[in-house]
């Protein structure tokens, strides 16, 4: 069985996603890193479904549907921000602060 390597790849992908969200400035790239984390989780679901039953595979379908909706809304927001500010660099988008 390939459970251990699959989980390892999933962990690497998730860490890459977190690192990207933390370190990158571009909103599009951060958005892609979020997708990466979601897919890392999907991989974990699928890998563990072999042992724990079909529910994990079902959840993957849900996650993909939510991710698609999130992508649509998220990209629309980024587009709107770009129209206003002519940048998607999150360091410059800091109006909401104490």
């Amino acid at each position: 069985m390939l459970l251990a390597p699959a989980l390892f790849v999933s962990a690497v992908l998730f860490t890459l996603g977190v690192g990207g969200v933390l370190l990158r400035r571009n909103a599009i790239v951060i958005f892609m890193c979020v997708e990466l984390m979601l897919n890392a989780v999907n991989l974990t679901f699928v890998a563990l479904a072999q042992q724990l039953g079909v529910a994990g595979q079902l959840f993957v379908l849900f996650v993909m549907a939510v991710a698609a909706a999130e992508a649509a809304v998220g990209l629309a927001i980024i587009l709107a921000i770009y129209r206003h500010r002519h940048t998607v660099n999150l360091q410059n988008i800091n109006l909401l602060k104490g």
Binding site: V21, L22, L90, L96, K97
Partner: protein, 661 residues
């Protein structure tokens, strides 16, 4: 409830009518202060009707002649747990005397006020307050329980404050009102605590229940009853201006003169005497308290009389005289001679009201004379008077009657009442020597009383006139509305003694027997000591001799040419200065009580506790703490999404670490 047909159901009207007058005059004062005729009709009318109602009620009471007090319950006032206090009025032999005196003297003084206050812009307000005072005074004497009495007790204090500071535009008057109010609070504290103690020991506050249970609820002479009665006495010393709380009464003379006559001579200040007489069962249970009451009275009688010797303000002389005479009443009720104390209360109400109204008549004339010449001399200073008998013959003659009455010259009313008090003190002294000392003090005070009253009369009405050449032509006798009440009071001062002529002079001691049911229990505990007739005659002779000596001494010693007008008078010297300065009691109180309290209030309570602790630490401190937390929290809100994520991830890692540990 009493059987119908005795007019006793009119009792509620006795206090209600003055209250109605207060409401009517109060509304006029607010809407039409110039409607003086209407104010006079309402103000005097309700008092006359109230007096008539009181007479009718007492007449019904006499015909019924009940053994127990008649209690009229009107509504439930304070039902709290075991305590039930009704708003109820009580008519018994004691309150019957009081309502007649209060409504009668009040009615006369209201009539006098019509003339005296006629030109005052606050006329309606004055009558509103005066009516309200009578209402509270009647509540005080008619209340059938301690709380109802306390309502009247506080109410008369309020009216006293309002009327002392009636001309509040001048700071000295407002201050005098405040002083009276604050000093009375000290006494009221004693009254309140005594009330709590009474409830704790007897479980009731109704007079009937308390006095019926007192002999069993308290052990005679133990600490509880002594503390209760001494606290009651503290309340009495405040209201009735006895040592140590008497200092407010002389200052209270800043009010209009009829107010001084009504509140600060005839009625309110006698409330303490009434309270002791009402609580005679309690005081009889505590020999120590009775001795203290008598001692305070005797000491005050002598002490205030010495001060009166050297006062120049005509009303201040009378104020100290009032304190002194109230001392006699306390000596009487403390001795157990409740009837004698009440007798002196009644006769004093007559002759002291006459003296005050007479002085009001004098001040009225002096004031008008100075007003006519635009002079700013003191219209109340004896040194500015002299020879007034030529200008105010009625006032002079009537005031001489009152002077002879207060000095104790037979057959004037004061002679009988004062003699009975001194006789009772002497009789008790045969068993307990301390009362002999009280008797000596009383006799000495009687000597001084005769002296200072004669001094007042001589300086005001005899000798050369010192008012001024231009003013002399403007001195006139007051209108009939002022001299009329004086004449009635003069008659009462002369003949008031007939209500209690003792058996020694062939009388029937009417008041004594009238009050016997009220003081029956106390009399049983301390039976009256009967003196042999020879001793009594000697005492009477001594008292008359002393009074005569006082008058004779004043006539011989005082040189009527000596005083010079107040404006140019030299300050007093030596011992006279000590008396003139009232033994420096006000200064001593100021130094040891008023100033420390002011210092404590300003430096500790205000600047430290209020400004620093409450405002600084608690109010502003909590605001500052919140602001610090808010500042720290706002630093976290950088607007950088990355930093939020970092914190979020850090938090998740922390939770994971904690969960997997």
């Amino acid at each position: 409830m009493p059987p119908p047909g005795f007019r006793l159901d009119l009792l509620w009207a006795v206090p209600a009518l003055p209250l109605l007058g207060f409401v009517g005059n109060g509304m006029l004062a607010l809407t039409r202060p110039k409607a003086k005729t209407a104010v006079s009709i309402i103000g005097v009318g309700v008092l006359v009707l109230s007096f008539a109602a009181a007479v009718a009620a007492v007449a019904g009471f006499v015909r019924l002649h009940p053994a127990a007090p008649l209690v009229f319950r009107y509504w439930e006032w304070m039902p709290v747990g075991d305590l039930r206090v009704d708003y109820a009025l009580e008519l018994d032999y004691l309150s019957a005397v009081m309502i007649l005196v209060v409504t009668g003297v009040s009615a006369l003084i209201h009539v006098f006020s019509v003339g005296y206050m006629g030109e005052d812009p606050g006329y309606a307000r004055y009558f509103a307050y005066l009516n309200l005072f009578v209402f509270f005074m009647l509540t005080l004497v008619l209340g059938s329980s301690f709380p109802v009495m306390f309502v009247g007790w506080e109410g008369v204090g309020l009216c006293s404050y309002l009327l002392i500071g009636f001309w509040f535009n001048e700071k000295i008057n407002a201050d005098a009102g405040l002083k009276a109010f604050v000093v009375n609070r000290i006494g009221d504290f004693g009254f309140l605590v005594a009330m709590f103690l009474i409830f704790r020991h007897t479980g009731s506050l109704d007079f009937d229940a308390v006095f019926a249970q007192a002999p069993t609820a308290f052990t005679a002479g133990d600490a509880a009853i002594t503390a209760t009665t001494l606290l009651l006495l503290l309340g009495c010393t405040g209201k009735s201006a006895q040592i140590p709380l008497y200092t407010w009464l002389p200052d209270a003379m800043q009010g209009p003169t009829p107010v001084s006559a009504l509140i600060h001579a005839a009625t309110m200040v006698t409330a303490g005497v009434y309270l002791v007489a009402r609580c005679n069962v309690l005081f009889a249970l505590s020999p120590l308290s009775s001795a203290t009451v008598a001692g305070v009275g005797a000491l005050t009688a002598l002490f205030a009389a010495t001060i009166a010797l050297k006062q120049w303000d005509i009303k201040r002389v009378l104020a100290y005289s009032t304190i002194s005479q109230l001392g006699y009443m306390f000596l009487g009720v403390g001795t157990g001679a409740y009837a004698a104390g009440l007798f002196h209360l009644v006769t004093h109400a007559f002759f002291k009201a006459l003296l005050f109204l007479g002085s009001g008549s004098v001040i009225h004339a002096m004031h008008h004379a100075y007003h006519a010449t635009h002079s700013h001399e003191d219209a109340q200073d004896l040194r500015n008077m002299g020879g007034l008998r030529h200008h105010l013959p009625w006032t002079a003659g009537l005031m001489w009657i009152a002077t002879l009455a207060i000095a104790g010259i037979p057959p004037f009313s004061g002679f009988f009442s004062k003699d009975e008090i001194l006789g009772a003190a002497f009789a008790r002294g045969t068993a307990e020597p301390i009362w002999l000392a009280y008797w000596v003090m009383g006799i000495a005070a009687a000597l001084l009383t005769a002296f200072y009253m004669t001094r007042l009369m001589l300086y005001a009405f005899h000798g050369p006139n010192r008012t001024g050449e231009a003013e002399r032509a403007h001195l006139h006798e007051a209108p009939w509305s002022m001299t009329g009440p004086l004449a009635v009071l003069g008659l009462l001062s002369f003949a008031g003694g007939v209500i209690n002529v003792p058996a020694l002079f062939g009388g029937h001691a009417f008041l004594h027997r009238w009050l016997a049911p009220v003081t029956a229990v106390a009399d049983q505990m301390h039976p009256e000591v009967a003196l042999p007739a020879g001793v009594e005659w000697t005492l009477v002779a001594a008292a008359v001799l002393v009074a005569g000596l006082g008058i004779f001494g004043a006539v011989r010693l005082l040189r009527l040419e000596a005083p010079v007008p107040a404006r140019v008078a030299p300050p007093e010297r030596g011992f006279a200065r000590v008396l003139w300065k009232k033994w420096y009691v006000d200064e001593v109180y100021d130094a040891i009580i008023v100033r420390p309290i002011q210092w404590l209030s300003r430096e500790v309570l205000w600047k430290t506790i209020d400004a620093r602790l409450v405002d600084g630490v608690m109010v502003n401190g909590s605001a500052a703490t919140v602001r610090v937390f808010g500042w720290v929290g706002s630093r976290l809100q950088t607007g950088q999404v990355g930093s939020y994520v970092l914190l979020f991830v850090g938090g998740v890692l922390l939770v994971l670490w904690a969960a997997l540990r």
